[in-house]
Symmetry: C2
Subunit: 407 residues, 2 copies
């Protein structure tokens, strides 16, 4: 039985975290944490998934290299600069690991490294190196909150979760923090998400579980169609729960994967709902599909459509844009079979049946679409498969935030 | 020698046009034309390209059917309603052709029919039928302007062009009107564009020329990534210029195609620059590519990126977003070879060389990016091919226009 607990990335046994302000970005507020450190007291099985963008930031290459042996001890991450597309970025990513290692008595290769922020400007590595001893000294089992705030950029809410579940008769805990608000689109590794667990599991099984789960959670989010250069999702599992090591895809693997899926799904929805400038979370559920893959493709096209997003901002039941977006998704379906309704806590409004518009109560539709979470429910009436994807509305604030983010 | 002349779709011999207000949209201003009619005095070779959206509006199917024989006499089109995804839409599209035929003494099958506006609401066919005799009576060689305004929706400027060129020793004229502002994205047939010419050319040669040209002009525009259900580009050629009939891809075909390309390129740029809410035309030129196809894919990704578009709105030289968009385009290139500069009438600012950022004058960059037309110039330094695509910036007004377009 999976239940939510507190503690974030420190909920699992043997993990400490810290978040401090070191001044990565010139002129940033001393109240804004910008350096996060997470450390396990034992070696962890480790797995990562990364952006599919051809332009990858240097920290991704360094992390891939450090995780090649399938083990790690900790994570070091900064906000305020993406450490991407700049001379010396690879050396600086290595320097971050070296500084973390020196401050914690470990090796540079034991660390995952991530950066998030502006692309193409030199990172202030001196500030990070100077701040690292402070971060290491601040490591504690209460540190998840501080670490979660240290990786935020334009995020308006902290994204953190912790779960307790049972694997092979033992209590296993899993916690995570994430960031993500803009430059977010499916078809990627994911945004930044750090997951810790005390589950005993091999690196191979951990990677399989993570790939599967990320594909159905983080990769089903879109904010603006822009796949970042820095997306990384990493999970560290230190085995301290004492469950029998998961080496096969047995019922214990399934139990662990269910908890991982629960956590990632929650964070994915949180990222979509906190999309840059967003005023509401928009979910598109496609049901009655012949395959999950085509349902996913259709749902992604709907939540990714600028016109659907703008209509959601205006609480406008403009379902023609939903059908139009499905039409250019390249997934097969028959428009003349499609039913569409808008749903939220305020009610359900069917707007299209068998591809043709229905008369509906415009006032009720307005109320339904004015809620913080709205669902665009589409039934293809062609099969038994389904998928849902998450996005947000397109608002004046998105334009404002991104019209002058760099300076 | 191709030169620009006046007259729009009536510049070529034997064409008349009209645009009137008939009241397609309830409560619309009597000053807003909403019904356009174009008629040739002789039978025309005719060719069309259409949206690739799986959800196609009824008028597209009717037009495809009417053009199956490769000939037509005229075009009837309305704004204010897309006549899509609504019971009876096919019958209403046929009824528009029948009404045009009755008012002009022709057959319904002689007409191309197009509609543009909101999807999913019943079209007011009675208003169109009632207005058709007025439109027919208004047909004149001065009618291009009125027809051009009759197909506008959120367009802020009329899109019209006429050219004179020489084909086989004869003066050939070609004119066009177009509309397009939102729901515009490459990978489509195109938006609405009607082209008339007195060139003598077979339907087969006309179709080949149109497909080639549309692929390199209209299909290289994006406003918002949403491919419409109604996009149509049609060309009518009545042969009255008296040139020898173009039956082969000879120098006469090339001369005609060059004029067609000139006209379509101008209209494509006009549509991009008049994108919904746009304050500037953004061109991305990719040079030094190994293939034109990959150059086009890269350029499309750049002008289609919400983050690049928002940066262009803010006159922010955020070139990292340019490289990021190229990275997720799925086209092959080496980030470490890429040079990027921003260009406009105010100057040129190199911002990235060999994949790494350059120091640049922020004030100059701001001035360069504040012009009405800006170019993002990218050299891949890998080959001799190139392509350019056109888009616009993402502004508060785009969100405003689309937050409540339907009501």
């Amino acid at each position: 039985m999976t239940k939510e607990i507190t503690g974030g990335v420190c909920a699992a046994q043997g993990f400490k975290a810290a978040g401090i302000h070191c001044g990565v970005k010139a002129g940033s507020s001393p109240d804004k944490n910008d350096l996060a450190l997470i450390l396990s007291e034992r070696e962890c099985s480790a797995a990562g998934v990364y952006t599919l963008n051809r332009v990858k930031a240097a920290p991704i290459y360094v992390t891939m290299d450090h995780l090649e042996n399938g083990v790690a001890w900790g994570i070091v991450a900064n906000s305020g600069n993406a450490n991407a597309c700049c001379p010396g970025s690879h050396e600086n990513a290595e320097a971050m690991c070296a500084a973390a290692a020196k401050a914690t008595g470990r090796e540079a290769e034991d660390f995952v490294v991530c950066s998030t922020g502006v692309i193409g400007q030199a990172i202030n590595i001196e500030a990070i190196e100077a701040g690292m001893p402070t971060a290491a000294a601040a490591l504690s089992t209460d540190g998840s909150d501080a670490a979660a705030t240290a990786i935020m950029t334009t995020d308006t809410v902290k994204k953190e979760i912790a779960l307790s579940c049972t694997v092979g008769g033992k209590e296993v805990r899993l916690g995570a923090i994430a960031k993500g608000s803009g430059m977010i689109h499916p078809n990627m590794g994911t945004m930044l998400a750090f997951i810790t667990t005390d589950c005993a599991i091999t690196p191979e099984m951990l990677e399989d579980a993570l790939r599967d789960v990320a594909g159905k959670t983080f990769n089903r989010v879109t904010v603006d169609g822009d796949t970042s250069t820095n997306d990384t999702c990493v999970v560290l599992a230190n085995g301290m729960a004492g469950n029998d090591l998961i080496e096969w895809k047995d019922e214990n693997y399934d139990a662990f994967k269910a908890a991982l899926d629960y956590a990632c799904r929650r964070l994915a929805r949180a990222i979509a709902g906190d999309g840059e400038g967003a005023s509401r979370l928009v979910t598109c559920k496609i049901s009655g599909a012949r395959s999950e893959e085509s349902a996913e493709r259709l749902a992604k096209a709907v939540v990714g459509s600028a016109l659907v997003k703008a209509a959601m901002f205006g609480s406008d039941a403009n379902w023609g844009r939903v059908l139009c977006a499905m039409g250019y998704s390249k997934a097969p379906f028959r428009p003349e079979h499609v039913d569409i309704s808008f749903e939220s806590a305020a009610g359900t409004v069917p707007v299209c049946r068998q591809g043709d518009g229905l008369a509906f109560d415009e006032d009720l539709a307005k109320r339904v679409l004015s809620e913080k979470e709205v669902v665009i429910a589409v039934n293809l009436n062609e099969g038994g498969e389904e998928a849902e994807c998450w996005g947000c509305d397109l608002t004046y604030d998105y334009v404002k935030i991104n019209g002058d983010y760099r300076t």
